[in-house]
């Protein structure tokens, strides 16, 4: 079985919102019609987005760290939003595990949004139907696109390659490798929703320097000094 998903590397994300705009651009221009925007240039702009980048501050000044955190539908393996839908508009595809909403069946009752703990669904206030990330299902299989572009548009847009895309059920895929080797984790695992999207944590590369390495105990130039007293004469060491 295939489960397509995203793996988002929080170590690399710089919070530029390129994925947000690229997602909006692609998905507002597609067959299902525009994603609503209200007051786009006014005081309180609001609208429907599939993807949002949030920012968190971890720790207390001066020991703080900034975390940029992109959030979209996680295409859960046990999606709680699907069984509650009274119309069958929300469904999970057998063939690739993408969770979708059929905009022609949805009655806009918003019941599914109560059942998603991540707040991944946003209603379209104009079309009055529920919308959420489709993983750009209309790109993935489009043979008119070059193979390299058959990916979600957020993935293509990310300037730092913080977003990986692939089959998380294939143990040898790039995404599975990343999850396995870089400590990939799921959001709110306590609910048992089994999100398919994973996040790679912030990682720090630290240099470990032992004291020995600082005094250079094994410096051959100092071999003499260790065995004998330091000479009062001018030595090579004085040059440093």
């Amino acid at each position: 079985m295939t489960q397509l998903a995203l793996v988002i590397d929080l170590n690399v994300c710089v919070g530029c919102h390129a994925c947000v705009t690229s997602c909006k651009e692609w998905n507002t221009s597609g067959e299902p019609g525009p994603l609503v925007d209200e007051n786009p240039y006014g005081k309180d702009p609001t609208g429907t987005f599939f993807n949002r980048v949030q920012t968190y501050e971890i720790g207390e000044f001066p020991n703080t760290e900034t975390l940029h955190f992109p959030k979209s539908c996680l295409h859960c393996e046990e999606p709680p939003c699907v069984p509650v839908c009274p119309t069958g508009a929300s469904y999970k595809r057998e063939e690739d595990g993408i969770v979708l909403v059929d905009y022609d069946k949805c009655i806009g009752c918003k019941y599914c949004t109560w059942a998603c703990p991540y707040g991944a669904r946003e209603i379209d206030e104009k079309q009055k139907v529920m919308k959420k990330c489709t993983l750009c299902v209309d790109r993935l299989y489009d043979e008119a696109l070059p193979e390299s572009e058959r990916k979600p548009s957020c993935v293509l847009a990310c300037p730092t390659s913080a977003r990986l895309y692939g089959d998380v059920h294939d143990p040898d895929s790039e995404v599975s490798n990343a999850i396995r080797e870089e400590g990939g984790y799921q959001l709110m695992p306590e609910w048992g929703t089994k999100p398919s999207n994973h996040y790679l944590p912030r990682r720090k590369t630290r240099m470990h320097i032992h004291e020995d390495e600082l005094v250079r105990a094994d410096n051959p130039l100092k071999q003499e000094d260790i065995r004998h007293e330091t000479s009062k004469d001018v030595t090579l060491d004085d040059w440093f």
């Binding site: 949030q54 968190y56 709680p80 009274p86 069958g88 806009g108 139907v129």
Partner: protein, 322 residues
């Protein structure tokens, strides 16, 4: 959650309608075994239509909740998994049965089946069926909320019990006011039950209030973003002008406001209507009986508002700078 008036009216109106029918049917079955004086067909017919009216009003209110009501028929399709879908089937079923019940009483029909006339029993059989359907409808309505495990304030059997008892209490209140017009000898019967039901729901709703006050959220900001640190602060939500997430899941009121709603609902739903109803029964005052029902109904609107506002959704963790 953000309390939606469509749903507040839907649940309170159909609750009262269901309760009223249960009251009528109880009195009819009591009189069938001679425990209460027999009533005219018109009494049950008009009462039945009154219950139907409340159900229809609730249905109309619910339409305002839907984005695409013209497709509402599709909502009956997922009854295998969705309690909302089950409610969508149960509500019209109840309405149909109540309509049949009231119509048969109105025209005093005695249809013959296989050469066998049921006499008065036909409405008893039909009433029994409708009463069963009404309990199923209560179950569906309650489970819509109780089945969402992310909303811990709702995800509990008390939710269903409260829906049943609140509906029953307001229905019997209404029945006692209604019977003062056509069957004054039933006022005390309905009123007595209304008081018992109101007292019981006072207990169960208080239990759920106490339970809610002690709930601990399952998810924390640490599990939400997967960072292990005690001090995490959200600096940006990803938008500035608000979004569906900041509108649908927040009541947008202060804690003080919530607290005042709580006390208003408690006073208006429990002690006040009981007192007024009791006085109305004691001194035979029709206006008092009617106001007891009206006051309790208004109290239930406040109650339902709080029911929604108190539910805290885990997604709110991602929207802390609202």
């Amino acid at each position: 959650m953000h309390p939606a008036f469509s749903v507040i009216f839907l649940t309170t109106l159909i609750g009262a309608g269901q309760g009223l029918f249960l009251a009528l049917f109880t009195s009819e079955s009591y009189s069938a075994v001679g425990l209460l004086p027999k009533q005219s067909h018109t009494f049950y017919a008009i009462g039945g239509f009154l219950a139907l009216l409340l159900l229809i009003a609730g249905l109309i209110a619910s339409v305002f909740h839907l984005g695409r009501p013209e497709r509402a028929w599709r909502a009956a399709s997922q009854w295998r998994t969705s309690w909302l879908s089950r409610e969508v089937i149960a509500l019209p079923t109840v309405m149909g049965l109540v309509f049949l019940y009231a119509t048969i009483h109105l025209f005093e029909w005695n249809p013959m089946f296989l050469g066998y006339g049921f006499g008065d029993k036909i409405t008893l059989v039909l009433g029994g069926t409708a009463a069963t359907a009404i309990f199923i409808l209560f179950l569906c309505t309650g489970m819509i909320y109780a089945a969402i495990r992310f909303l811990k304030e709702w995800s509990n059997p008390l939710t269903i019990i409260n829906f049943i008892l609140f509906g029953g209490a307001s229905g019997f209140m209404l029945a006692s006011a209604y019977s003062s017009f056509y069957a004054p000898e039933l006022v005390n019967f309905f009123g007595g039950w209304a008081i018992i039901l109101t007292l019981s729901v006072w207990v169960t709703r208080s239990a759920s209030l106490i339970r809610n006050a002690r709930l601990k959220p399952t998810s924390t900001i640490q599990t939400a973003i997967g960072v292990r640190h005690t001090k995490i602060q959200q600096k940006a939500m990803g938008m500035m002008g608000g979004s569906f997430n900041t509108r649908e899941y927040f009541h947008g009121k202060t804690a003080l406001f919530l607290k005042s709603i709580k006390w208003i609902f408690i006073v208006l739903s429990f002690p006040l209507p009981i007192l007024i109803l009791w006085a109305g029964m004691q001194f035979d005052q029709q206006p008092l009986l009617i106001s007891a029902f009206v006051i309790q109904y208004v109290g239930l609107l406040f109650e339902r508002w709080l029911f929604f506002a108190q539910a805290n959704h885990p997604q709110n963790i991602y929207y802390q700078t609202v």
